[in-house]
């Protein structure tokens, strides 16, 4: 499994960066990829007791099903929005976020200034990079969907940072956090719908 760790870390950071910089389809697909990669990093795939991983993926799946905007899966639009050129252009348009992600990654590779005996460097780097990428839009964004996605990125980063030191969550913690992911996505989706409905009525 350690061989998969580095690619998963890079995928998670890239997906987190795209989740806060893209709009519409690209961002939601990035959130789904982030959820998959960060869950795989957090809970061991080889662990026979995969309840935490299953819970997390089901919770995020349910949340995404509720929060996804309509017409997300239109084939042509999806192909256009997920084209490599579009993604690269999105990243180039947000150099500060990309620089933050890289800085977070490097910062995370530096050992903690705490007397904690062991900590996984890669997981810590991924956690800090996602926190650095997710926190600014979570604090400042005025758009509900963007804030919801930033919340998912921040929470994923927080949990990866925690996992790098303490290991995977205990079953109750896993249930609570899985419920939290669903809650954030469902509530974020419903608030966005309600505000757009109210504005349309006005």
């Amino acid at each position: 499994m350690p061989s998969l760790e580095l690619p998963l870390v890079l995928i998670a950071i890239l997906a987190g960066t795209l989740a806060v910089t893209s709009a519409g389809r690209g961002a939601w697909v990035a959130i789904a990829i982030l959820a998959l990669s960060s869950s795989a990093l957090e809970f061991s795939i080889s662990d026979p007791n995969r309840i935490g991983l299953i819970l997390r993926l089901s919770a995020i799946g349910i949340g995404l099903a509720a929060a996804l905007p309509e017409n997300l899966f239109e084939r042509d639009a999806l192909r256009r929005d997920l084209a490599l050129g579009t993604l690269v252009r999105t990243l180039r348009e947000h150099p500060v976020v990309v620089a933050s992600a890289v800085a977070g990654l490097l910062l995370g590779l530096v050992p903690l200034a705490l007397p904690i005996e062991s900590s996984s460097d890669a997981l810590r780097a991924a956690g800090i990079a996602l926190l650095v990428v997710g926190l600014p839009p979570l604090l400042t964004s005025r758009f509900i969907e963007a804030t919801t996605r930033a919340a998912v990125v921040t929470l994923s980063g927080t949990l990866l940072l925690r996992t790098s030191i303490f290991g995977a969550l205990d079953p109750l913690g896993a249930i609570a956090i899985a419920a939290g992911f669903t809650c954030i996505l469902v509530v974020g989706g419903s608030v966005a719908t309600r505000i757009s409905n109210a504005e349309e009525e006005r």
Partner: protein, 529 residues
């Protein structure tokens, strides 16, 4: 599962099971009465009220003893005394509020209340760590989302949006506090890192921030005001008062354990900062309650002032970890604000307005509401003087700062004055709105339950029933740190001293860690894997 195991599971999870059963009960009642009939909503409300009362009785019967402790694999659900007491009183309080609120959505509000008190019971029943705090924060978000549903109101949606942002920001604070807490035991044996006192200060800051932001302590009061402005009263009380109070119990337990585990004073200005925030919140809430003319906003500012007491209690938990005064004031505070909420919903339902300019003479027209507000004032003043008042005074003494104590007393007195002002408006000449409002005879079920419920809750809040002593019991102890990570992490930093197996609270190894490292059982400091 054996018969004993099933019974244990029912005892442990009774409030959760009651909340889940409401999901079936309400549609069944609507099916039975027919959705077109006007009385379907009334019957659904009545059914949910009965379920709330049944939850209350069930929680009292199940109790918090060993017979209610459920163990399934690695999962332990150990209902706590404070959790069960909150369910017992919460069931009664919300049954009365739902009854007084009436209306088409009263049944839904009752269901939300059921889920809210179930989440509180469950979070106080699971060992401390990230799970109970995460559960409460996400329950708060879910409840505000559910309470705001029903109509496309931008104000409501924005209040929920604010809640989403807050909850998402607080989780990292909890995790950072958790990391710092674990580092304390290592710092005691390795002088090259931060001292235990400074790490404990960082932990205390992280945990206190969660309480301060979630409870709406100044300067984070804006969220609480928006909640009381936008959400229905059941949602406002749960999200703004009940869940933050449950969170306060967990935080105080953590802070007590933390303060007991170090012998040096906490670093930084944590305690003075929390004390100052608490006193400022009390004064700010009370003055704002006096200056506003909308009873919804006034109750919101009273909730803000109550959060000031929670901050003072958190500071006292750090100053005097073994003193129970800090946990003694939580329950009376939440019951008092709930009483004001009950009065608010009843007046708003009867007169259709929340502006005090249009409510002149309300108490003369509806004396039951007058009794409810009088009961709330008695609860607020904690009269006659007893355990609750003594606990508040003790908190001020533990704070150790006469100026803070003076501000807190002034704030509380102003709060009582603001409440008396509301009552006096009820005895002025009747306004047009009040005069034209329809009233019902005193002898009907809703009015009688309003009066009886108010008196009971006021008695509990003012300390007449001595119920509050049950709320100071210990919470389930902290678990040991989770197993190692799945990727077999390599050490990122070489520890300069190999930690001993008996590292925690070892006087030979760590002179700065007190021998009785974990007195109250909660928040025990354990070494990292």
């Amino acid at each position: 599962m054996t018969e004993v195991g099933t019974l244990t599971a029912i005892r442990a999870l009774f409030p959760v099971l009651a909340a889940l059963s409401s999901l079936a009960l309400v549609p069944l009642i609507r099916l039975w009465r027919g959705s077109e009939r006007d009385d379907a909503a009334t019957y659904a409300t009545f059914g949910v009220q009965l379920l709330l009362l049944a939850t209350s009785v069930g929680a009292a019967l199940a109790g918090a003893g060993y017979l209610s402790t459920l163990k399934v694999g690695q999962i332990t659900i150990d209902p706590s005394e404070p959790g069960r007491l909150l369910v017992l009183l919460g069931g009664i309080v919300f049954a009365v509020i739902v009854g007084a609120g009436e209306g088409r959505r009263a049944g839904t509000m009752g269901q939300i209340a059921l889920f809210g008190i179930a989440a509180i019971d469950l979070s106080l029943a699971i060992p401390s760590g990230i799970a109970p705090i995460a559960l409460l924060l996400f329950a708060s978000l879910g409840i505000s989302g559910a309470a705001a549903s029903g109509k496309d109101d931008v104000g409501r949606a924005r209040a929920v949006f604010r809640d989403l942002r807050t909850v998402s920001l607080l989780l990292p604070a909890v995790v950072i506090a958790e990391i710092l807490r674990v580092a304390i035991s290592y710092a005691a044996v390795d002088a090259s890192y931060a001292t235990p006192a400074s790490l404990a200060a960082g932990t205390a800051l992280g945990v206190s921030i969660v309480l301060i932001v979630a409870a709406g302590v100044f300067p984070f009061h804006g969220r609480l005001i928006k909640i009381f402005e936008a959400l229905p009263i059941v949602g406002s009380l749960l999200v703004g008062v009940w869940i933050p109070s449950a969170l306060a119990l967990i935080v105080m337990s953590e802070l007590s354990a933390l303060a007991s585990s170090i012998t040096d004073p906490l670093g930084g200005a944590i305690v003075p900062g929390i004390l100052l925030a608490g006193a400022a919140t009390l004064i700010f809430g009370a003055v704002s309650a006096l200056l506003h003319d909308d009873i919804g906003e006034i109750v919101g500012f009273m909730a803000v002032a109550n959060s000031g007491w929670l901050a003072l209690a958190a500071a006292a938990a750090l100053q005097a970890p073994t003193d129970t005064s800090s946990r003694l004031i939580v329950l009376p505070g939440m019951l008092t604000i709930s009483l004001f909420g009950l009065w608010l919903v009843s007046v708003r339902r009867r007169y259709g307005t929340t502006s005090i300019r249009e409510l002149g003479g309300w108490a003369r027209r509806t004396s039951a509401n007058g009794i409810a507000l009088t009961a709330a004032i008695v609860a607020l003043a904690a009269l006659p003087p007893g355990a609750v008042l003594a606990a508040r005074l003790n908190l001020l003494l533990l704070g150790g700062n006469p100026l803070i104590a003076l501000f807190a007393v002034i704030g509380q007195v102003l709060l009582i004055v603001a409440a008396i002002r509301l009552l006096l408006i009820g005895f002025t000449p009747q306004s047009q709105t009040v005069h034209e409002a329809e009233t019902r005879p005193f002898a009907n079920l809703i009015t009688i339950s309003l009066v009886a419920g108010s008196l009971f809750v006021a008695a509990a809040a003012a300390g007449w029933l001595a119920l509050e002593s049950g709320g100071t019991g210990p919470l389930p102890p902290a678990p040991s740190v989770s197993p190692a990570t799945s990727f077999a992490p390599v050490p990122s930093s070489e520890p300069s001293v190999e930690p001993m197996p008996s590292l925690t609270a070892s006087p030979e190894v760590s002179p700065e860690v007190s021998p009785d490292g974990s007195p109250s059982g909660s928040g025990e400091i354990s070494p990292a894997p």
